[in-house]
Amino acid sequence: MYRSHVLVCGGTGCTSSGSNKLLSTFKNELVNHGLEEEVAIVETGCHGLCALGPIVIIYPGATFYAMVKEEDVAEIVSEHLLKGRIVSRLVYTEAISEDGIKPLSETNFYKKQHRIALRNCGIIDPSCIDEYIGTGGYEALGKALTEYTPDDVIQIITDSKLRGRGGGGFPTGIKWKLAKESKSDQKYVCCNADEGDPGAFMDRSILEGDPHVVLEAMAIAGYAIGANQGYIYVRAEYPIAIERLEYAIKQAREYGLLGNNIFNTDFSFDIELRLGAGAFVCGEETALMTSIEGNRGEPRPRPPYPAVKGLFDEPTLLNNVETYANIPPIIVNGADWFKSMGTENSKGTKVFALGGNINNTGLVEVPMGTTLREIVEEIGGGIPNGRKFKAAQTGGPSGGCISAENYDVPIDYDNLLEIGSMMGSGGLIVMDETSCMVDIAKFFLEFTVDESCGKCTPCRIGTKRLLEILNKITSGNGTPEDLDKLEELSYHIKENSLCALGQSAPNPVLSTLSNFRSEYEAHVLDRICPAGVCKALMHYVIDADKCKGCTLCARVCPVNAISGKVKETHVIDQDKCIKCGACMEKCRFDAIHFN
């Protein structure tokens, strides 16, 4: 029995900022004070506020310590744990109010969040199956096996209107129904944990923070469609997730929650892990299954869909990690509970990975229909350095950029499509006025060119050509015709590619072209980059009114591009200038500008 719990975040973000050292230091300090019998140390999954890691939360009271260093631990133990005095200098500043420490749930970052998929992340010890059971874990599996028929389960999921959280937003219930209706002696349940979108890490956090929820949901799915074997396809770059999943599978087998005759019924189910080698295309369902089979991860045409002919040519159900994380709560609380959240056609919540020019980078889970403004300004804490919001990129390389004009559109599957983006897996990269939209499109195209598997021509060659045109524009050699070419080629790639990778690869180009066309035009017509990112289009100029002729700039210029006499205005030779910026940095009179 412990009187207090110290939760140390062991997610990837906090681990990389040193949380594992905190664990051992806490243990030593507790022993030094003779508190090891009274205070429990719990290594948890991600709390979401990764920007402030390593994070330590002490219960009771939920005191939220941010950016804790090894040398702070002794003070926390002797003050907070021994004497009950909160070490306010280490408390997350948002949580400090005039009348003392605010509960975590009332801080801006957490206030508007509603956690379903992430409900246990950062709360329970992911390596302890008992803690998962203590928060109601495996109750849904027990309920499904003993009280519901497979058809009942599918009906509940269908009624809940849950849609796939991995990208496409396909109704989960229909997917399950199709897999159930396929006749075969052998079926499979797969979990797509090959999270590949740059900037998205919600699946990793769920696997690290609450691995049992995925196992439980897959077993429920197995019962519903009539499968006895599951595979989790997880990328090898997620070592902490893999370790915790392996341990969770072992524990679940020991408890008989995986294996033969679960809960004394005739339902048997087991799960194995398969590690992906890191190819983005393996997140595509047919490529993923080909890879599990041991072959090179390449997509194949559909139909036949996996529900009919999938892994090892047998009917297969494939869902994403976050989708699975919603299943047990729906079974326990019912479809109506889930349906009560969200918008007309997008129910429940969605996890977003906030990144880019935003104060609170991290993971947030909000009801569908929350506006971009609420996410960025309130939960995300706004944009640093007083800059203005310019755009948000959602859906990773398959998605698009939302402009400030759509700041107040409620975010759900359909609205995002309408404004030229998509939900994707939930990466949300915020950009301020210093981001160049052509450059952003180029960044994502570089990614898809690298990750195109090469099997079909439109994707392999088309994306390469798209990138070449973008390079031409950002290097100052673009023409107005290039913009039309970009558009035309984009449509060809979308229409003719084999899988979703190619079909969605031009989206970053198309959405920036439609929402920020003037910026493209500035690049090709006026040969300027309004955001000041594309170096080839930038010039350093010396303001004649401010220049005192001190010669400092001319002396630091590495290519002797600056000329001028002492006490006379200096001039930069644009042909020689390599745009290193050394002159601007050194000028003491603020006379050199970038335009």
């Binding site: 029995m1 021994l82 009950g84 059971i133 203590g134 027990g142 004394n264």
Partner: protein, 129 residues
């Protein structure tokens, strides 16, 4: 594990542990003064005993926590019971035995143990003078 009952058994056993991490403000709070004065007069075993008793008896609506010096150093160890929408009750000169009595009578049966409260103790001290 072969039955739902077994699962629920584990769940009940763990629930009191995990519920320590809830942030429910409708909870009754039991606060132990744990400044130097409190610790010196033996607050630590009291805090531990209270936490254990509350978890053992599955008092899910009770949070045991600690605080700094309440300012009544000569009456330490001090334990306060704060129930939602009720006057705070302050127990003084506590021992482990008295604390367990408070758990049984005040927290479970909802009858504050008047004789250990600060009012009763200071009154009798005044009478002695």
């Amino acid at each position: 594990m072969k039955s739902l009952d077994e699962l629920r058994e584990i769940r009940e056993r763990m629930q009191s542990q995990v519920s320590l991490r809830s942030e429910d403000h409708t909870q009754t709070r039991v606060v132990v003064g744990m400044a130097t004065c409190g610790i010196a007069s033996g607050a630590r075993p009291i805090l531990a005993a209270l936490a254990e008793a509350v978890q053992e008896k599955k008092l899910d609506n009770v949070t045991v926590t600690q605080t700094g010096c309440i300012g009544l150093c000569q009456y330490e160890p001090v334990v306060e019971v704060i129930e939602p929408n009720k006057e705070k009750v302050t127990y003084v000169n506590m021992t482990v035995e008295k604390a367990l009595e408070v758990v049984d009578l005040h927290l479970i049966k909802k009858e504050p143990v008047i004789k250990y409260t600060i009012g009763a103790v200071t009154d009798s001290a005044a009478r002695r003078k």
